[in-house]
Symmetry: C2
Subunit: 244 residues, 2 copies
Amino acid sequence: MADETILATFFRKLEVRDVVTAAEKVALIACASDMVSVPAGGDLVREGDRPDTSMLVLDGFSSRYRDAPDGSRQITAIHVPGDFVDLHSLLLREMDHSVGALSACSVMRFPHARLRSLTETHPHLTRLLWLMTLIDASIHREWLSAAARTAPEQIAHLICELYVRLGITGLIAPDQSFTLPLTQTALGEALGLSAVHVNRSLQQLRSEDLFTWQNQTVRILDWESLKRRASFDDRYLHLVREPR
Amino acid sequence: MADETILATFFRKLEVRDVVTAAEKVALIACASDMVSVPAGGDLVREGDRPDTSMLVLDGFSSRYRDAPDGSRQITAIHVPGDFVDLHSLLLREMDHSVGALSACSVMRFPHARLRSLTETHPHLTRLLWLMTLIDASIHREWLSAAARTAPEQIAHLICELYVRLGITGLIAPDQSFTLPLTQTALGEALGLSAVHVNRSLQQLRSEDLFTWQNQTVRILDWESLKRRASFDDRYLHLVREPR
DNA sequence: CGAACCATTGATTCGCGTCAAACCCGGTGG
DNA sequence: CCACCGGGTTTGACGCGAATCAATGGTTCG
């Protein structure tokens, strides 16, 4: 159980896409069970697990990843506060990838049994949860097409995406900055680039004065130019409020 | 409206993952409206559209793609008979990519209004439809991590995936062959490779006698070796029958 | 103070893109 | 019937983007 404020970031994420009634919020809150804290570097779920709860990140950054036998790691998604990291395990059952905490995370757990009965009684909420997973898939597609671009463009694109996604839940500071607890190595794992090349591409971007990145803080200097540099178009995030 | 046999491939796809009752099949069939034929090269939906129906491919291959301003095309998914190509438009509303027919396709249309009321009355079916979109997302993640591998491995991996997916609906011939109406150019667009490099990688693979590919027909010669070559593990397709 | 991690730099190698031309084939029209 | 055509495949030559290997600072922390 949790009071409403604690799921505020999640509700904001939903409300960007549709109207959520007070009763629906109550029903969602009733689905929550307990909170868990995971230290940076820890795993929230591991590939092969068959979790009986889904987890919503309240605070902190996490990543979905898979480790290849040769030791390399591929990050397929980055999650920000307000994201369900493994809602899909409700139906997929077995995790086909792991979720790791990039920074210390606090996480709200939602037992599958409750979510499942929610799908029996609240069709509209069910559609909204479904929608969240569809947006995840849309982001995957965007990453797939971004992979064809050059390294600096890819990096710029990811910065743009996180800037917009964090903006939804009010996590962008007034000076256009936000926390990004990613190492250059992790960034490379997300984009399919080597850490060395990420470093050089960042130097390239730095010289273009589009943003700064120091102490895990990114600050956007020129949003319009950055968007252009990244060919960023936020339509794939489906930020339209309409009945779903 | 349609009789049951016409949705057989789709039902088989569902039944690999869960039990589907006769009543549920009837309900699904009742959602179908009409059939459409699209010639090879035509589009089923276009980016920016706001369709009021979702389409299930009964016959033929199609691809989800997006064209970049520079003229290049990125294919983010390949659909085989039995796949819903734009079920996500039910909730996402605006298409953020197009779907094109790789070969002549016949398609069953499902008006959103009917699917939506299905979500109001049939929670279990709703979860199954949701599941199908989750599997799509899982495939996206697999493609994302496959992008890090070399070109021949990527090609081999895609062949493996299609072989398994087509096998689900009984579309693999007794001699382990199947139709693959993809040009080398399209294959490159799917994997983020140039047509030239696809060609050379195919020559490489040909010399390894893992499969043949002639006249749009792929024939698997050595499945185990091919799987190994591609580091293919079908877990991401979630071929487990259990209550969802 | 070393251990560990991260950022940075240099040197080298290689996969893959790009450009360009040739080839193969089924289809079309004179 | 054959010249012509266009889409797809194949080859060759060349160059660049990015991986790899290796080493050096800078920081944090037990």
